[in-house]
Symmetry: C2
Subunit: 322 residues, 2 copies
């Protein structure tokens, strides 16, 4: 689920790349936030996401939140494809004798399915050395929002605010400072994130390109830039950062923009649209930049325009050894 | 994936039952071999199955076979629903630095997808303490074959032969005796099982009720009996058992019928059909019994008719402490 530096060594990324190259046959749409196939004039969108206790669960998280979050991560991918959640499936692996935790986990999954309006379609359980939840989400769409559809001249927008998830992670795993009030708001985003299902209808009307922030804004924008063959220019001062993140960064001498650009598991939606369409948007969002000719992701301030080097996200992870 | 006694304690089954009771909303078809929803006159069938190294992998199995088998387990569920495999998705959890094993695993998955004619629709990777493969299979069907559709007067049939998988397991985990020739045939079934995709078309023409043998014939027949509200009577001498299983049982003073009834991960298909339809069946199968009024699963020999008590499968597992 999370892809912080320490979990994905170069070698491991190589394995995955090599491994995936062995698989030649893919669905009509594959490798975006989710895969999809067309059936009788409609898109059936399918995604899966594995939550692993030793990798994805910080000490502050309880098993009910873990269950809910396993659903959220999958639903967020459906939203980013422009599809509405319909069905959920899961496999749970858990150590024997862990009855109470297992019950909490099921409860979290059930709550989330109610919240997102999904029906259960398949479930499997197994014994494992640690808690594993592999979630599967199925959605329907009339039109797909794809990473490759960004167009020169469009603006780049994002829902909500960014940075709280990484801030909480730095407090939890690296012991960075924060007062109780800050902590409450910061941890809320990493413990109880909610996928942006409320934007699907409005988004599909005004956009053809979206991605969800699961690995950090920098990485998501690079995915759009690469898939669409364009340059993304981000106005640093426009990146939506909450008051708590600003205070946390000041307290720990961090750059809020860097935190916001590299914060994963935010489950906000990044999308592109024409300037003309902005007036008609039915949900809250922030314009953070534009799509231009060229390549790569660039950060613009009053004084400079700087390309984010391809490893900035990894660099950041390495620096903090998360 | 496998559900031998030691992995599913009473408590754990309780957890699952209680947990699942929390989930009220299910798809039109749920809880059979796979779930399904109807879309524009067709059934979209979805199943998932988690393969866990510490639970499902015997020492004789390599990682390529593990990858293939993770696909097979899912495809077998699709076949049992009367659906044709179309798309596959998976999550892989693996320990870092396990590059060679991971590659083999991907290769096995890829081979299986080719073998079953499936396209990849979604994939996720994560770090975990052991190898975890959660497979998701999507199939299409005009008509569903359901456990609840067995009818009094029908005959009960099964494809292939039964018992090799459990025999191999007893050799591997309990050190039971076998010569090399026997071992070769017995281990073939547990290491390289193949789902019966060749029967889907023919099966849909003559049956409305099927289940795959993933947990053992006794358990599968109980599922049909319970869901259909009928009695299943099995003629013990008709259960298809290979020469190798008979020899293995003789060598170790075991009852071949008991082995065949309790052997899981066979991926053979059990189905019911009318006697009249038998002549038209286009694939190999064996008639093993009949559906009558009443309840439960009964074993019939020349000299006796005996009900399999509800815990016979568990009893067997306990006896062998598998």
């Amino acid at each position: 689920m999370r892809e912080w530096g320490v979990h994905m060594t170069e070698t491991e990324e190589d394995i995955i790349r090599t491994g995936m190259e062995e698989i030649k046959r893919t669905s009509e749409v594959f490798g975006d936030d989710a895969g999809a196939f067309r059936l009788e004039g409609r898109w059936v969108v399918i995604t899966n996401d594995m939550f692993v206790q030793s990798t994805d669960m910080i000490p502050e998280m309880n098993f009910q939140d873990a269950g809910f979050k396993a659903v959220t991560a999958n639903v967020s991918d459906l939203v980013a494809m422009g599809s509405k959640p319909a069905y959920f499936g899961f496999s749970i692996g858990l150590p024997e004798s862990d009855a109470d935790r297992a019950r909490l986990c099921f409860r979290g999954i059930s709550e989330a399915m109610d919240f997102y309006g999904m029906k259960l379609i398949s479930a499997d359980t197994n014994s494992a050395n640690e808690l594993i939840i592999d979630g599967i989400a199925v959605g329907m769409a009339e039109k797909l929002l794809l990473r490759k559809n960004a167009k020169v001249g469009e603006v780049v927008c994002v829902t909500g605010d960014l940075g709280r998830s990484l801030s909480a992670l730095l407090i939890s795993l690296k012991g960075l400072e924060a007062d109780e009030k800050m902590k409450k708001k910061l941890f809320e985003k990493i413990l109880k994130p909610r996928a942006r299902i409320e934007v699907v209808d409005g988004l599909s009307k005004i956009s053809n390109c979206a991605i969800d922030v699961s690995d950090g804004l920098a990485k998501e924008l690079r995915a759009i830039s690469k898939a669409s063959g364009c340059r993304i220019v981000v106005d640093v001062e426009n990146i939506p950062v909450s008051e708590e993140v600003r205070e946390f960064c000041e307290l720990n001498s961090l750059d809020p923009a860097e935190i916001a650009m590299n914060s994963g598991e935010e489950y906000e939606i990044v999308f592109t649209t024409s300037k003309d369409a902005l007036d008609g948007v039915e949900f809250d969002f922030t314009v953070i930049g534009e799509v231009t000719k060229g390549e790569g992701v660039w950060m613009r301030t009053d004084s400079e325009l700087k390309r984010i080097r391809d490893l900035s996200w990894r660099h950041f992870s390495d620096k903090w050894v998360i």
